[in-house]
Amino acid sequence: MINIKVIFFASFKEQLNCSQIEQSLDNEATIGDLCQMLAEKGERWQRLFAEANKNVKIACNQQMAETSTLLNDGDEVAFFPPVTGG
């Protein structure tokens, strides 16, 4: 098993009413596997994570990542909407 930290920003944090969780996954799990687990946490989670959506941006250890990215123990995965700074 591996343990990772999952964080949410901006509208995602508000929609899920959650800024951070710890999640355990099988070895060699991908971010796609993580999304599937998150989708099972409730209706709001389902809506956000059920399918790969271009409006869901992902970072792993503060680098932009894809659903195919392989996870390692201790990783920090962040989910956020497209950026709107400047």
């Binding site: 920003f9 962040a78 956020f80 950026v83 700074g85 400047g86």
Partner: protein, 158 residues
């Protein structure tokens, strides 16, 4: 004044534009050209009931993304000084959100690099805006949605 070649500032306090302007323009004489861009919360949006804005970011990731954007700019243009500052937290109408200042030998480099940095900042840097409105005496909050037109600005640099 402390000299620097490259600086990134993310601030919870109001941006001190006078100080930033001076930091960019003080090196203009030796380099020939400088360009300054500032973006503010639109005061004209008062008509829509806008009272302010909250800027959220992803600490550390934002700084490294901005650093990467400046590295890319330095590969394209010879910049003697560059300063990027971005506000986070709650801002009222008219307050500055972002400052970009570039110094180079010629105006073309200074103009283009400032525009490049802004285009990439808007599309890549992990900031999110939430607008606060008053409507019929009630407050309302709306996350700003990203614009396709912003994404298209990157095409000219590819």
């Amino acid at each position: 004044m402390k000299s620097f070649r490259k600086k990134i500032v993310i601030s919870k306090e109001p941006l001190d534009l006078t100080r930033f302007n001076l930091q960019i323009q003080s090196s203009q004489g030796e380099n020939g050209a400088s360009v300054i861009f500032t973006g503010c919360v639109r005061a004209s949006k008062q008509d829509d009931g806008l009272i302010g804005m909250t800027l959220e970011h992803y600490p550390n990731m934002t700084e490294s993304l901005l650093d990467e954007i400046l590295l890319q700019a330095e590969k394209r243009w010879q910049l003697s000084r560059v300063l990027v500052a971005h506000r986070v937290g709650y801002l009222t109408r008219g307050e500055p959100i972002v400052f970009v200042g570039t110094c180079a030998r010629h105006r073309k480099e200074a103009f283009e690099s400032a525009e490049f940095i802004m285009d990439y900042l808007k599309n890549k840097a992990t900031f999110w805006k939430k607008e606060h409105f008053i409507e019929d005496g009630n407050t309302k909050e709306l996350w700003v949605e990203s614009k396709q037109s912003d994404l298209e600005t990157l095409k000219r640099w590819q």
